[in-house]
């Protein structure tokens, strides 16, 4: 069995390793000059690499933890000590708890309402949830305007969705919001560091896992091979690439193809015969996340009793987290620019981005010296990711895209974290999708029958 995997992110690499183990002849085509996709190491000092993209995991991420162990990687705890910092309408406060200085009853009421909606979603088929049509049409911003009156709850809601799913509430449906929160293990699990989805980082950077997977695959991984078209007939599939460098256009022939790229990128590939169901629509958005890494000689904020955790009601750095290495050999503060703030930030020049980030940091932590490093990772501008953490399903998308997320298009099968109903948008979802697609191809008889059906229509 010859298989071409399109995309050397965590999903594609996981699928490829599984297929190789089952005896398949596998080629992985990657558009960039590196593997890892939305997992990318950013050097912040001579010895420390920060996570430019996906970073955190928790105990429920069982497939990811198994891979971390299999490839001999370590975990770094995110446990933090010290006070939180809050900038609410430019007024700075520090408090012992992670609770922002906003009206607690109003926020509690907001989360009661969110819990109700999250509980109503069918995690195995969100498009079949009760009231799916209404919730799919309604934007999260509209829902907030209709349901929630208190100004503090209205202030907090976009910050929460930005942090949880890198989404501007205006860009996603209520169904997507509720599904995402449910898929990740519920609001409380997804929100928590200790005991939640942010319990650990992968020591040295999450990208190390992708490097390890790619290392196992060796020369099967071909870099700088952006796929432009996938043609299939009764006998085989031809995957056509347009390499970035000037040169001959290359073709790869296979029995099966796994497309393991984000939906917006999959939708750009030219399929012959054409797709019967789209992978993305005009409403499908890019995950709006920009990460700003600030490097210091040591985690100096700890000396003044601060955890490095902050939340600001105005951008760009809507939250910051202490991502320093466990040995404290450097200090790393990660600033998250998410949602609408990310779109605005992404439009700035490099200098303006840096100035805005540094000015915000001075406001948050006036006692800190200027950082020795300031690195901006703008996922909105990444041609071969088109956003991060994950695609944002806009109004109408779940009913349109949901039922066919994993339905093969003839010889073409789908992977990627956006095809996983479990831990959608997370590294765990990517791995689960990769394992699922490998199993589909290994038990290929069924799919072979399905492919003939597609082509005869």
């Amino acid at each position: 069995m010859r298989v071409v995997v399109v995309g050397a992110g965590l999903a594609g690499l996981t699928a490829a390793v599984g297929l190789v183990a089952a005896g398949a002849e596998v080629t992985v085509l990657e558009a960039r000059d590196r593997v890892g996709g939305r997992m990318h190491g950013i050097p912040v000092s001579t010895s420390v690499v920060a996570d430019g993209g996906a970073a955190y995991l928790g105990v429920r991420h069982t497939e990811l933890l198994a891979q971390v162990q299999e490839y001999g990687l370590g975990l770094a705890s995110t446990a933090m000590a010290g006070d939180s910092t809050f900038l609410v309408s430019d007024r700075r406060r520090t408090t012992a708890s992670r609770m922002p200085p906003l009206d607690a009853v109003a926020l509690g009421d907001l989360f009661d309402r969110l819990e109700d909606i999250v509980a109503s979603v069918r995690p195995d088929a969100p498009w079949q949830s009760p009231e799916a049509e209404r919730l799919d049409r309604l934007s999260a911003a509209r829902w907030l305007a209709d349901e929630v009156e208190h100004p503090d709850a209205r202030t907090f809601f976009p910050l929460f969705l930005g942090e949880m799913m890198a989404a501007d509430p205006a860009a996603i449906s209520v169904l997507h919001m509720a599904f995402y929160l449910r898929s990740g293990g519920g609001i409380r699990y997804l929100n928590a560091f200790e005991g939640g989805a942010q319990q650990w980082r992968i020591d040295g950077g999450a990208h190390l896992l992708c490097l390890a997977l790619a290392d196992r695959l060796g020369e099967r991984v071909r870099l700088r091979q952006p796929v432009s078209a996938i043609d299939q007939d009764d006998d085989e599939v031809v995957v056509r690439c347009v390499p970035d460098v000037v040169g001959a256009r290359s073709e790869y022939r296979a029995d099966w193809v796994v497309v393991a790229v984000p939906p917006l990128l999959a939708q750009q590939i030219e399929f012959r015969p054409a797709l019967r169901a789209p992978r993305a629509t005009a409403a499908t958005g890019r995950g709006c996340a920009v990460k700003v890494h600030l490097g210091y000689p040591a985690p100096m904020w700890r000396e003044s009793g601060l955890s490095g955790w902050s939340v600001s009601t105005n951008g760009p750095l809507l939250s910051t987290v202490d991502d320093s290495p466990p040995d404290e050999s450097a200090g790393v503060l990660t600033g998250f620019v998410t949602g609408a703030a990310a779109s605005a930030f992404s439009a700035l020049s490099t200098t303006e981005q840096r100035d805005a980030a540094l000015a915000h940091t001075r406001q948050l932590f006036p006692l800190l010296p200027p950082p020795t490093q300031c690195r901006v990772t703008d996922w909105l501008a990444e041609k071969y990711s088109r956003g991060c953490y994950a695609a944002l399903f806009g109004p109408g998308d779940w009913l349109r895209l949901g039922p066919t997320l994993t339905e093969p298009h003839g010889r073409v099968h789908w992977a990627g974290t956006e095809t996983s109903l479990e831990f959608f948008g997370l590294m765990e979802g990517a791995i689960r999708s990769g394992r699922r697609v490998a199993t589909e191809l290994i038990n290929g008889a069924e799919s072979a029958a399905a492919s003939r059906k597609v082509l005869s229509r």
Partner: protein, 73 residues
């Protein structure tokens, strides 16, 4: 309106029946996100809006009920 009512709120929010009048919310696994949902339930059911600090200082049903009783003459 009673301590027992707040015991019920704790049970619902924490999704555990192992709550009595003197249970410490945070020792039962509660966090700030769940604590504010207790505060919103108390506000709904008792008409009294407590502060987050009230909760942290009195994280048991009996302690919170004492705060409610102190606020409502």
């Amino acid at each position: 309106m009673s301590t027992d009512h707040i015991v019920q709120i704790f049970r619902r929010v924490l999704e555990t029946s192992a709550v009595d009048a003197h249970s410490d919310f945070f020792e039962l696994g509660g966090d700030s996100l769940l604590a504010i949902r207790v505060l919103s339930a108390i506000a709904r059911d008792f008409g009294t809006e407590l502060l987050y600090e009230d909760f942290v200082d009195n994280p048991s049903p009996a302690g919170l009920f004492a705060r409610v009783a102190a606020v409502v003459p």
